[in-house]
């Protein structure tokens, strides 16, 4: 699903965001992207949904070379990727329904399809009773669930989440992660950036460790469930 080969990312002014990153994520995998603040987690995710282009190396997402995509190609790719942010990024003046429906509207879905799919995902995430509410009337956890509903409503093959639980208390954080894990169980490839050790320990998935823009660890096996040493230091 994702391949990166010797990827560098430099920002204007020459600051290095990522350096010589090489890794692959298979279709259907669940991967945590971890590291301290400023390690490059967000930069790596931004590369994956085409918000920035690599300065060197190759990034392939669903077989597409991100460096060569035109603006409209990036738009088409984003219709196949669900993105979740720490700060939710919801439209304050739109209802919950409208916030979720925007994804399907942009994809050109019919009204009937939009109604059915939005209702279904909101029901699945326990938000059916909040359909007509504005985001400011919702709790932080509910707002993040709306953002997740927006990302999942079109059943994307890839979901990218950038610190999705960063603004939530621990109990709600687990609730949100369970929803994302559930999406993975349905076959979605998931990449979650987090530095929350509780989540890393609880879900025991593959961890890509970043430090100052470099990939310094790839813990490939489920240590919690399978036991033993299974990590690979890079």
């Amino acid at each position: 699903m994702i391949q990166m080969y010797h990827v560098d990312l430099r920002y204007d002014g020459g600051t290095s965001g990522l350096s010589d990153i090489s890794m692959t994520v298979e279709r259907g995998e669940f991967v945590f992207l971890t590291g301290a603040s400023g390690a490059g987690k967000t930069s790596l995710l931004r590369l994956l949904f085409g918000a920035v282009r690599p300065s060197a190396g190759q990034v392939l997402v669903s077989g597409r070379n991100m460096a060569r995509l035109s603006g409209s190609d990036v738009a088409v790719l984003r219709r196949e990727v669900g993105v979740i942010f720490q700060d939710f990024k919801l439209l304050a003046e739109r209802s919950v329904f409208e916030n979720v429906a925007v994804t399907l509207e942009i994809a050109g879905a019919s009204r009937r399809e939009i109604r059915a799919r939005v209702w279904s995902i909101l029901k699945r995430l326990g938000l059916a009773h909040r359909l007509d509410h504005r985001p400011r009337a919702l709790s932080g956890g509910e707002q993040q669930r709306v953002a997740i509903a927006r990302a999942l409503v079109k059943d994307p093959p890839l979901v990218l989440a950038d610190e999705p639980t960063g603004n939530l208390d621990p109990e709600l954080a687990l609730d949100i992660m369970d929803i994302i894990a559930d999406a993975h169980a349905r076959g979605t490839t998931v990449v979650v950036a987090t530095h929350d050790p509780t989540l890393l320990g609880r879900y025991g998935r593959r961890q890509l460790v970043l430090h100052r823009g470099k990939l310094v660890g790839d813990h490939r096996l489920d240590q919690r469930l399978r036991g033993g040493v299974a990590s690979e230091s890079l």
Partner: protein, 299 residues
């Protein structure tokens, strides 16, 4: 089908932009309407000044004097009548010319009695076709007539025509400068309001991009908003100008008669009104296009 639905979504977003912030939209329309009012008012003045100048132009005529070897007057008249720019001509015989001169001299007409032989030549008074009633048209016809061996001289009030031509040229220049300046100001106003709308809806744009809206779909609502804004502003400006023309002009009627002479001021016809509405719409669209050029494709 999906593309049509995307288009509908985008257009709905544009309408939402209008209804979502009605005050901002109304202020934008009012600002642009003020500019359009100035431009339309200016065009109305230009149109009426042209009518006045055209009425002066209708006075343009030529007098072609016959030479000694002019031959048949009727044949020459037919030849002149066939020339481009000639609407009609009237033959003035030497005797008629002398009578006119006597009339012009009034009480001093008696001095002509001493003339043994009438020294005045016969002439043709030529009136011009509407298309030829310009300084250039008069000059061209005079040059053509002067090439004829049958005519000894051609007069058309050169000094007056040249002054008239200078006034026309000056008006055209001043008009063009004013027109371009007003256009630029209007363009800047609309571009500014579109930028403001883009800034206000930056979050919406970011989210639309995030979920896969391409550049066209993101820009379309703003283009629609700007086009509606332009059309409404033009309509408002024309309505205000129409009211002013209808009820304000009679109050300054005497002064207008002094300025315009016999010509009656006229308001825009349906064609001009349609053109100005189309112009307002296009100006909105064009300015929006320019201000959206720098909207990032992928961010």
């Amino acid at each position: 089908m999906r593309n049509l639905r995307r288009l509908r979504t985008s257009l709905r977003s544009g309408l939402r932009g209008i209804t979502g912030a009605p005050l901002v939209f109304a202020l934008s329309v009012a600002t642009m309407a003020a500019g359009m009012f100035l431009l339309s008012g200016y065009l109305l003045v230009v149109q009426n000044v042209r009518v006045v100048l055209a009425s002066y132009g209708s006075d343009l005529s030529l007098v072609a004097f016959l030479g000694p070897a002019s031959g048949s007057t009727q044949a020459l008249a037919a030849q002149l009548r066939a020339m481009p720019g000639v609407a009609d001509l009237q033959y003035v015989s030497p005797a008629e010319a002398l009578e006119r001169l006597r009339g012009d001299l009034g009480a001093d007409g008696g001095i002509l009695d001493g003339l043994g032989e009438n020294p005045l030549p016969g002439s043709f008074e030529i009136t011009l076709t509407p298309e030829a009633r310009t300084p250039e048209g008069v000059r061209a016809l005079a040059a053509e007539l002067r090439r004829s061996d049958a005519l000894s001289d051609v007069r058309y009030g050169e000094a007056w025509v040249e002054s008239y031509a200078r006034i026309l040229r000056a008006l055209e220049w001043v008009g063009a400068m004013l027109g371009v300046s007003l256009l630029l100001v209007l363009g800047v106003i609309v571009a500014g309001t579109v930028r403001l709308a883009v800034h206000t809806r930056a979050d919406e744009i970011a989210i639309q991009r995030l979920v896969g809206a391409g550049g066209f779909l993101v820009r379309l609502p703003f283009l629609l908003e700007a086009a509606v804004q332009g059309a409404l502003a033009a309509g408002l400006a024309l309505a205000l100008l129409g009211l002013l023309f209808r009820f304000g002009l009679p109050l300054v009627g005497e002064a207008m008669r002094l300025v315009l002479g016999v010509a009656t001021p006229v308001f825009f016809g349906p064609f001009e009104i349609g053109s100005l509405l189309l112009f307002g719409t296009s100006l909105g669209l064009g300015s929006a296009l320019l201000s959206l050029l720098r909207l990032e494709e992928s961010a």
